[in-house]
Symmetry: C2
Subunit: 199 residues, 2 copies
């Protein structure tokens, strides 16, 4: 027995969502049908609208349906003269939640990865050059991930900054606050040691 | 910082899906936007169509967009004169995957639960009575879950069958094939002992 055509199609397409397999997709479909058809319709419209209208901010490459995202459009943010470079929109979200950083962002939407054919243009570095030249950026904070690719990307961009006489800094990596040494991976521990400061 | 309005709305409505919290919803939204907008649009249409058109089969209460589901509409299935009663459409799916059972189903879409105000009419027992009277059902197999409510529901329906001179049987509960005794819960073990058969 198969499900009815419309139900099969719903289950099939729910599996486009990351982490959703056959069983989970069935449970999702049945739950919406049994308990929340209005919610299912709201989700259908939200999906349609987002897929249709959400694009990349023309300055920072974060997701937005406007030409410029709210952060890029804010004069207060622009005046700081400081730019934080991250790999993903989720990183922007995480940093914004600390409410510590008040400058602009640039979202690479990835990192350099020659092995996968991902070069400077693919992560928007021509847009970044334009941004650096046009705005009065005094400091660039490199907040890419502490992976091989993230480090390589950070170094590449640091070079771009140096040739423009812009200060480039790298966020610190080490033991998370509240983290226990014994549960840390070796590479984080290495970072913690090599980044040690005198007290 | 908040996400743009369309992105916020997408993340909010993705949380209608069971098991999806804020972080997962963000990951789902970004993944579709970055890698699979066509898939997102397909999912939007599938959701819309299913929420709009999928209803309950007028005979067995399983989900379908037709008046009768494929199983109820099959003359071969009807001729068996055997009806299996389950709690959910997922149960039908699980039984169909074994390809052992060839009769009709009736889907309660729940179980009797006086404490939650769920009585016979809420689980379609008036429809079931009609089905039993109209079709030449010789045996009813009660495949509700081995929970207190599932057992009570099975007994209630067995009574309905008895008053119509229809044989009612309960599926066996016990140690799953390949299951190890030491990892079984006590209630399954109890079922395994009380359901023992002479060799
Ligand atoms: Zn922006
Ligand atoms: Zn049916």
């Amino acid at each position: 027995m198969k499900f009815s055509p419309l139900l099969s199609e719903l289950i099939r397409t729910l599996k486009y969502l990351p982490g959703v397999g056959q069983k989970t997709a069935q449970r999702m479909a049945f739950q919406l049908l049994e308990r929340n058809r209005d919610g299912g319709q709201e989700l259908a419209s939200a999906l349609h609208n987002a897929m249709e209208h959400v694009q990349h901010c023309q300055q920072c490459r974060n997701f937005t349906e406007s030409e410029l995202c709210d952060i890029c459009a804010s004069p207060k943010r622009q005046q700081q003269g400081i730019l934080c470079i991250v790999e993903t929109p989720q990183d922007v979200m995480a940093i914004e939640q600390t409410a510590e950083f008040k400058g602009l962002y640039f979202v690479l939407m990835g990192h350099l990865s020659p092995i996968d054919g991902i070069g400077p243009a693919d992560i928007g570095l021509d847009n970044l050059a334009e941004l650096l030249d046009k705005h009065q950026i005094q400091e660039v904070i490199l907040a890419t991930n502490p992976t091989v690719e993230g480090e390589a990307t950070a170094h590449y961009i640091a070079q771009m900054c140096r040739s423009r006489d812009i200060k480039a800094s790298r966020i610190a990596h080490g033991v998370p606050v509240g983290g226990e040494l014994e549960y840390l991976d070796g590479s984080t521990l290495m970072h913690a040691f090599s980044g040690r400061r005198e007290l």
